[in-house]
């Protein structure tokens, strides 16, 4: 295995009975990346993240996380990979300081001093009881505890779900500032695509168990072309078969179209090339058939 690859999945398949939760999923995560995992509810995001930490047994394919088999080497793996599941809770009766003590006893690579240092960034005091904290503070405390583990991979399943905008910002600030050091990688699933787009180096998009896109943001900007254009040329743009047409907000030409690969020169001349946004690409690639019948 390439030592620079923290995750390597080849033709990964997971079934729940007759349902294919993941189907032929292949991707890699090198070190030093911030990878966004996007998909509608039920697309397979949580299943994929669980498979990475050995909580789900793949029916097909190969999976190596930090060079280990997650099912077989789960205990060793969790020493070097942190995971916050979407259903994560901290015991309500405990004080934050108790949790630091607990983690020190449980986890060989956990640093209590580091956890206290990380908590100082937040408004959480080690003497606070979990039940006295707001939802945003609980998530911050949880991140501080997990980020105090000297690990190489952080796996976060919908970490900011239900948090207000300031708590989400504080969460990601701490993640980027305290965790990402160019060697460690983060894999984070979310629905708040537009919020974290600029944070990501790569994106994985799941649609009904299939990986429809695995690309770096840099390559995405090269491969996908968004053309901002006036309503008067809408028909000519549509004739060039874009993946998606959409209306854009005030201060823009009002209309835009998204192409996979640059369309012909005469089409490009109808408008102005802009950066494709991840949300628009997400809508184009993961549409659900029943929602696909609206026309301009």
């Amino acid at each position: 295995m390439d030592a620079n690859l923290l995750v390597e999945a080849r033709s990964l398949g997971v079934r729940y009975g007759a349902k294919r939760a993941l189907d032929d999923v292949s991707f890699t995560i090198p070190k030093g990346r911030v990878v966004g995992l996007l998909g509608h509810n039920g697309a397979g995001k949580t299943t994929l993240l669980k498979a990475l930490v050995g909580l789900v047994k793949p029916a097909q394919g190969e999976l190596a996380v930090l060079g280990m088999n997650p099912l077989r080497d789960r205990v060793d793996l969790l020493e070097q990979a942190c995971y916050i599941p979407d259903v994560a809770i901290l015991p309500r009766w405990a004080r934050v300081a108790d949790l630091i003590g607990l983690m020190s006893g449980l986890h060989p690579r956990f640093s209590a001093a580091r956890a206290r240092e990380l908590l100082r960034r937040t408004s959480v005091d080690p003497a606070d009881k979990v039940k006295s904290l707001s939802k945003g503070m609980v998530v911050q405390a949880h991140l501080a505890l997990v980020a105090a583990i000297d690990a190489r991979l952080m796996i976060l399943d919908e970490p900011t779900l239900g948090l207000d905008v300031l708590s989400r910002k504080a969460f990601y600030e701490m993640l980027i500032d305290e965790w990402c050091d160019g060697e460690r990688s983060v894999l984070v699933s979310t629905h708040q695509v537009e919020e974290i787009e600029a944070l990501l180096s790569d994106v994985l998009m799941l649609n009904e168990g299939k990986l429809v896109l695995s690309i770096s943001l840099e390559d995405m900007d090269r491969r996908f072309v968004a053309l901002s254009h006036d309503a008067s040329v809408a028909e000519q743009v549509a004739a060039a078969h874009p993946l998606l047409r959409y209306r854009t907000g005030p201060g823009t030409a009002g209309n835009a179209a998204l192409f996979d690969g640059a369309p012909a020169e005469q089409v490009m001349r109808l408008g102005q090339r802009v950066r494709p946004s991840l949300v628009d690409l997400f809508v184009a690639l993961t549409r659900r058939p029943e929602l696909d019948r609206t026309q301009f």
């Binding site: 905008v165 600030e173 980027i176 919020e195 600029a198 943001l217 209306r247 907000g249 946004s277 628009d280």
Partner: protein, 131 residues
């Protein structure tokens, strides 16, 4: 083909709004250059770290690296081995010179045309803010 109403270009309260027409690293470089012009940080001082900037602007560290690289290429920052990036002596003067050039070449003709259209002459322009 799908059609829907996009609200992305309106930006989001969580972060700096980035213009869709330019690469984000370029916009960050412009933003940092504008702060350097205001003396933040002053010449000879250290730039904030990549991680601090990435946290502040909620950007991927690779994007921040590219922006700092661009400022280095423009002769505004220097890499002191083992210490990080520092603001070059003379960076503000150089920035001001290139900003003046850009203003006179691109912004002033537009502004002049606008003033003519509105029939505003030099005698109507007050230079003291509270006059």
């Amino acid at each position: 083909m799908v059609c829907y109403l996009s609200n992305t270009p309106l930006g989001h309260p969580m972060q700096q709004t980035w213009d869709q027409r330019l690469p984000i690293y370029q916009q960050l470089a412009d933003l940092l250059a504008a702060r350097l012009l205001d003396g933040d940080p002053p010449e000879g001082d250290a730039m904030p770290s990549v991680r601090a900037l990435a946290g502040r602007y909620l950007l991927n560290p690779l994007t921040v690296n590219r922006a700092l690289q661009a400022l280095g290429d423009a002769g505004l920052l220097e890499n002191r081995r083992g210490l990080g990036l520092y603001v070059m002596p003379g960076a503000r003067a150089r920035l001001r010179a290139s900003e003046r050039e850009r203003f006179l070449a691109t912004e002033w003709p537009r502004l002049r045309a606008h003033l003519r259209r509105l029939d505003i002459g030099p005698e109507q322009l007050r230079w003291e803010e509270n006059a």
